[in-house]
């Protein structure tokens, strides 16, 4: 068993993890306290799911825009279930982070005069989304990865799968990881640990997410007693490709694309987003530039009314870009063209793209304070895995890429600060925890289990999440999903892995990921069932629960792990210090209002 000591260990090599690593390194340098930083990732960092983000990153940029406007959009976009102090910090630090990316070489798209170009995005009052064509996440991730190579103090552990956090007396003391190539356990002792492991979109059958987005970090923190917060809020992106769920960016609509039902009618005007804006003249917060939750909900309504078309087995509506012209489409949305052509054989220059909503983003996650620290001392979380309180009940497109920069850096700096004042724990404490891990692995590989296949369990999980926790939810559906998760957790305790090889055993990893997934799926179902109102991405069809209920539910849900027993839920007050809850309105209805 390999054992190494680091000041800071970062789990996850996507945007937030890389930004945290660089942030920590810079902070240590500035304060002349040399620190060693380990960056673990279960894949090579440039494979991380940040790579698939397309549309852009938001920050107040133009002279007409204001921090207040970005704050208002984010708060109302999140249906007031956001931590307003956190949003305030976020909007004030967004711009400097995007400029920092530019200084590191990120190829942002430009205006003729050499300034950075911005585009429109859903739910945002003005154009404030920086972009690099329609591969913004790709360019950001590669820029961060390449920049991280400048720092010799960052040591990468590529393809190391983290099995558990080591925690002693309420403080994190390291992590236990599996080297995928060899199957050997590795103990990393640390003074601070940052989780940057991404979301949990793969809990659902139909999603835009990469195969690695399995919520590992969420489950690890949760199992050690950290609350998972607001897990019932799962974002359906309105435009995924039928069949695969591959993401078709919101930027298509930001650039002027329109949504049509099978009759060629711009149905969004019937759902409080109108009146219809002229073709090729998109207007912020109107029609196609409404927020994602509203658009996905409108799809569901059209589907119920029988006004959706068919593509293969899927019900679809259509995203029409043709009026933008070939030159503009190829300049602004080249990746979309490539994807549509490759995966559904449709050329967006010539035909409308059939699309349907797909699970895209986990608004909730590991509860942290405004400085990214969890309830375990020295354990931080940033990016999609965290619930710092930015997104509330619905995330606005292009806020998450900025989030991973702003809070990745903050988490890195905070971890560096802590590491400078903390000592390593006794190695024997880690070793004891590693032994328990070894026993768990042994049970999976050669235990006396029923031998039930993980594949069956996984399919049951994603099916139940989709049917019970979809765009619209019912008491009965959610209750059934919750029950299913509890049964699946019991069955999971008895599964066994066929592959007993030590070398690159991906079956073992899938099984461990499934275990993580089942735990957080239970938390998600429990939060959904207990939230007896409709807010943002959580919409109920049940009588008396179809509206927002600020009296009882202007509260974060917190779910706590209870081992084999059912998880427990508590409610937590929301920080509404700047903006009192108001009606959330778009289109003409939103005109003149506070938002």
């Amino acid at each position: 068993m390999q054992q190494r000591d680091f000041d800071i260990v970062i789990v996850g090599g996507g945007g937030a993890g890389l930004r945290a690593a660089i942030g920590a390194a810079e902070h240590a340098k500035e304060h002349k306290t040399p620190q060693r930083i380990a960056l673990l990732s279960k894949v090579y960092p440039m494979r991380s799911h940040t790579v698939a983000a397309e549309g852009g990153a938001a920050a107040v940029t133009s002279a007409e825009d204001s921090h207040q406007a970005h704050f208002d959009d984010t708060v109302s976009g999140g249906d007031w279930l956001v931590e307003q102090g956190v949003v305030d910090y976020f909007v004030h630090h967004a711009y400097q982070e995007l400029v920092q990316m530019e200084r590191w070489g990120c190829p942002w798209s430009r205006k003729d005069d050499g300034q950075v170009q911005v585009r429109r995005f859903g739910g945002m009052k003005t154009a404030r989304t920086w972009f690099a064509a329609d591969k913004t996440g790709f360019h950001m991730l590669h820029t961060l990865f390449q920049t991280s190579l400048k720092y010799p103090e960052i040591e990468r552990f590529d393809e190391y799968f983290v099995l558990d956090l080591a925690v002693h007396e309420g403080a994190v003391i390291g992590v236990i990881a599996l080297q995928v190539a060899t199957g050997e356990l590795t103990l990393l002792r640390a003074k601070a640990v940052i989780l940057a492991t991404g979301g949990a979109g793969r809990l659902f059958r139909f999603n835009t997410n990469a195969g690695i987005v399995t919520g590992d970090g969420m489950a690890m923190a949760y199992r050690h007693g950290v609350a998972l917060r607001d897990m019932e809020f799962v974002q359906y992106h309105p435009t995924g490709l039928p069949g695969s769920g591959i993401l078709i960016t919101e930027a298509c609509r930001g650039e002027g694309g329109i949504l049509l039902n099978k009759d060629g009618y711009r149905y969004l005007q019937d759902y409080g987003l109108g009146p219809e804006t002229p073709l090729g003249k998109p207007e912020n917060k109107y029609m196609e530039l409404g927020p994602r939750d509203k658009l996905s909900q409108a799809f569901w309504q059209e589907q119920q009314a029988g006004r959706t078309g068919k593509f293969g087995d899927s019900d679809v509506v259509y995203l029409d870009l043709r009026h933008l012209g070939e030159k503009y489409i190829l300049e602004r949305l080249p990746f979309i063209c490539e994807l549509a052509k490759s995966y559904i054989n449709v050329d967006p220059v010539k035909e409308p793209i059939p699309i349907r909503p797909a699970v895209h983003y986990t608004m909730g996650g590991i509860e942290t304070d405004p400085l990214c620290e969890t309830s375990i001392a020295g354990l931080y979380a940033a990016g999609e895995c965290a619930s710092v309180g930015l997104h509330g009940a619905n995330r606005l497109g292009s806020n998450s890429l900025t989030e991973l920069l702003v809070f990745g850096r903050l988490a890195g700096e905070q971890a560096s600060k802590r590491a400078a004042q903390t000592e390593w724990a006794d190695t024997r404490l880690l070793e004891a925890q590693a032994e328990r891990q070894q026993a768990t692995l042994a049970r999976l590989c050669d235990g006396e289990g029923s031998g039930e296949s993980w594949v069956e369990l996984k399919h049951a999980m994603v099916q139940a999440m989709e049917s019970g926790c979809g765009i619209y939810r019912t008491e009965e559906g959610m209750r059934h999903s919750l029950e299913t998760m509890r049964q699946l957790r019991e069955r999971y305790a008895k599964i066994r892995v066929n592959d007993t090889s030590k070398i690159f055993n991906t079956e073992l990893l899938e099984c461990i990921e499934l275990g993580y997934g089942l735990d957080i799926a239970e938390a998600s179902c429990l939060g959904a069932l207990e939230r007896r109102e409709s807010r943002g991405a959580h919409q109920r069809l049940d009588e008396g629960m179809q509206k927002r209920d600020d009296v009882n539910y202007l509260k974060h849900s917190q779910v706590f792990y209870q081992g084999e027993a059912p998880a427990e839920l508590r409610w937590q007050d929301v920080d509404v210090r700047f903006s009192a809850p108001a009606e959330r309105a778009y289109g003409d209805a939103g005109k003149g209002g506070k938002v």
Partner: protein, 260 residues
């Protein structure tokens, strides 16, 4: 807006057939020898090679190992040899193949297991060329309190943009016989990335990178076979970048000569 019924052609999902896929297996902890294993499965027009591998993993043989993640040709994980040609599994469709389909791990890399190769040397080559913006004496240093971007016109961006689209999938290394002959050759992707920064109007690191580029294992090992550009799934054209790099390296040598 006209309200006419929209119809789009559909990638048929009912055009099902049975296909055979042969996969080169290598399980070092049970046998030192690689062997071929054949799988049979139903496919339709939308089935990608990655879908097929996932089908094998979940339904037929859970011991098959391979890398994958985004399944939309942007993460660069799932490169394999398909009938001898390097391809991304997620961007390869079985409908395009008649007869036998033979899947092997990427050429020119050591195989760890089944379709998984050791990419470490690729990452070392990447890091060697200083693939990050170098501007040691900026006109205006970055200040978080008064952040200011560089200026860069769309024309200046266009000069390097194509070369910034590399997803590090490694297909070009499997296509490059020079890398196969000498793994110390920095190779197409690393040299392209170096060239990308050299072309960036914000960068001043060309001189530093030249020590790596302008040597035998740098640009001069390339003989312009050009297969790297043929197999590149993102049309980055690494062969062009490497050979533009030769021109730059030659200029660098000449200038150094005259300066003494």
């Amino acid at each position: 807006m006209s309200t006419e019924q929209i119809t789009t052609k559909s990638v048929s999902t009912n055009n099902t057939s049975i296909k055979h896929i042969s996969v080169k297996r290598y399980l070092p902890d049970s046998s030192a020898e690689a062997y071929w294993q054949q799988y049979e499965m139903p496919v339709d027009d939308s089935t990608s090679l990655l879908d097929a591998l996932n089908h094998i993993k979940e339904q037929l043989d859970s011991t098959l190992s391979y890398r994958w993640s985004c399944r939309m040709a942007i993460c660069g994980s799932c490169g394999v040899m398909v009938n001898g040609i390097p391809k991304l599994g997620c961007k390869t469709f079985l409908r395009d193949y008649e007869g036998e389909i033979r899947i092997e791990p990427l050429s020119h890399f050591p195989v760890q297991r089944d379709l998984v190769v050791d990419m470490e040397i690729f990452l070392e080559h990447l890091a060697a060329v200083k693939p990050y913006l170098i501007d040691d004496n900026p006109v205006k240093p970055y200040d978080p309190k008064a952040p200011e971007t560089y200026q860069q016109t769309p024309e200046q961006l266009a000069r390097y943009k194509q070369f910034a689209n590399c997803i590090n999938c490694g297909l070009c290394y499997s296509a490059c016989p020079q890398f196969g002959l000498n793994p110390e050759f920095l190779g197409p992707a690393a040299l392209t990335l170096a060239h990308r920064y050299n072309l960036d109007s914000r960068d001043h690191g060309k001189k530093q990178r030249m020590t790596e580029l302008n040597r035998h294992e740098g640009v001069w090992s390339c003989t312009f076979v050009g297969f790297c550009s043929q197999v590149c799934p993102k049309h980055v054209d690494p062969a062009a970048a490497v050979n533009q790099g030769k021109v730059e390296a030659a200029k660098h040598t000449l200038i150094a000569l005259f300066k003494g």
